[in-house]
Amino acid sequence: MSDAPSTRKIVEAILLLADEPVPATQMGEVLEVPRAEVEAVLRELAGTYEREDRGWVLRESAPGWRLYTDPDCAPWLERFVTGHRHARLTGASLEVLAIVAYKGPISRSEISEIRGVDSDGVVKTLLQRGLVEPSAAEGTAHLFEVSDEFLERMGLRSVDELPPLTDFMPDSEAVEDMEAKLSPNA
């Protein structure tokens, strides 16, 4: 054998072997290299793949780094995608998902209260889809938060990266309109 392989090379090999996002720390342990150095390599690689217009992209999300096929190629890949078709979520599921993303950790009853309708069935669906999970913190198993899988699919490192909720508020005109229609003196 010639020289030992470079950090870059081993990082690439790990990315190819992994079947889920790998934290930079874990790669650092394997390589016996500080996490910051691994992260620099990962960012460099992500840039390289993009610049060279490879068929894959390297992305970081909450759980770690992972190789994904480039979305541009999606139409050609349908045949090779095994099983994992994500069924579309209903409006109700999306609403609850948004509530959990922005208000989590949050209990079932708080969710139901916000929506004005019992939401246990929807929460169960989201749990089964793996988008929501019981809060990991001590003594909070009755509270729910979004899962790493959700963050991975959204390409987010944490819920803090979500756009501010105020971006989604109805504009003042819409609110006034609602108010006018509700007013007893209308």
Binding site: D19, R59, A74, L94, G116, D118, G121
Partner: protein
């Protein structure tokens, strides 16, 4: 009476109300209050047969509409305090509508993100043959009991929705009862009786509403004459004897509301 409210597109009362209001399909004050009330009562008597979640959703939105409409129909009742209370309620409802609308928009944004995310497929090929035996055994931190609980939950039918009964608990008024009650009161008197007097024993606003509805039903059937001298004055009702309460009840039974139409 057929209970035919189908709210498939709506998720609960707030959602329905938001839909009705924002799509401008319905001025909530144009929704026939009588029909809503009848439906409301029919729904209560028919609850065990209906999809509980749907029924509850309808009941709560009906209650909300009734309250708001009753406030408008009965100006001045209860004075400033009542008015202030009503405004407060309206503001709370508005706040909930805004919140609901906000989360719905946020949900739509998440849907786009998830959709975009699903166009990128993560590498899943997994371990190459030569590494398979090295992989540590998966930790199986579970017990037969825990598995049983998981299986029972997974195999059980979807959880029954819990019903928010807070809106329903104090409401025991029905238009049918009110028709009989109002008719009974008026029949015995030869002279006009004020609506306020008819409502004197009514503990809740909903009681006032159903009595008002009952009066309208009786009027429609010709059993009573109504006189209102000035716009915000008391309504005075006189028994005519041209129809009796039973006929009115028979008419009232034919109400059917179809909110699908309202939501379209």
């Amino acid at each position: 009476m057929a209970y035919e409210v189908k709210l498939e597109v709506f998720e609960g009362p707030i959602d329905l109300l938001l839909h009705l209001i924002t799509r401008q399909r319905v001025d909530i004050y144009d929704v026939s209050l009588a029909r809503i009330t009848e439906e409301y009562l029919a729904a209560i008597s028919d609850l065990d047969g209906a999809d509980l979640e749907t029924a509850t959703g309808f009941l709560v939105v009906a209650a909300t509409l009734l309250e708001l409409k009753s406030a408008r129909l009965l100006p001045g009742r209860g004075g400033d305090e009542e008015e202030a209370h009503l405004l407060e309620e309206r503001d709370l409802l508005l706040a909930r509508l805004v919140e609901c609308s906000t989360f719905r928009e946020a949900g739509a944004w998440l849907a786009r993100g998830l959709e975009a995310g699903s166009a990128a497929h993560g590498r899943t090929a997994g371990l190459e043959e030569r590494f398979v035996d090295l992989a540590p055994k998966v930790v199986l931190k579970t017990t037969p009991e825990r598995l049983a609980a998981l299986a029972a939950t997974a195999l059980a039918p979807r959880p029954e929705p819990e019903v928010d009964v807070s809106h329903l608990a104090p409401i025991r008024a029905t238009v049918r009862d009110a028709i009989l009650e109002v008719a009974g009161l008026l029949r015995g008197r030869g002279e006009p009786t004020g609506f306020r007097e008819l409502c004197s024993g009514a503990p809740e606003r909903i009681d006032v509403v159903v009595r008002f509805l009952a009066l309208l039903e009786l009027f429609k059937a010709g059993a009573v004459d109504l006189v209102q001298v000035d716009r915000f004055g008391d309504i005075r009702a006189t028994w005519t004897g041209d129809a009796d309460a039973e006929d009115v009840l028979a008419e009232a039974d034919e109400y059917v509301i179809d909110l699908r139409e309202a939501g379209r």
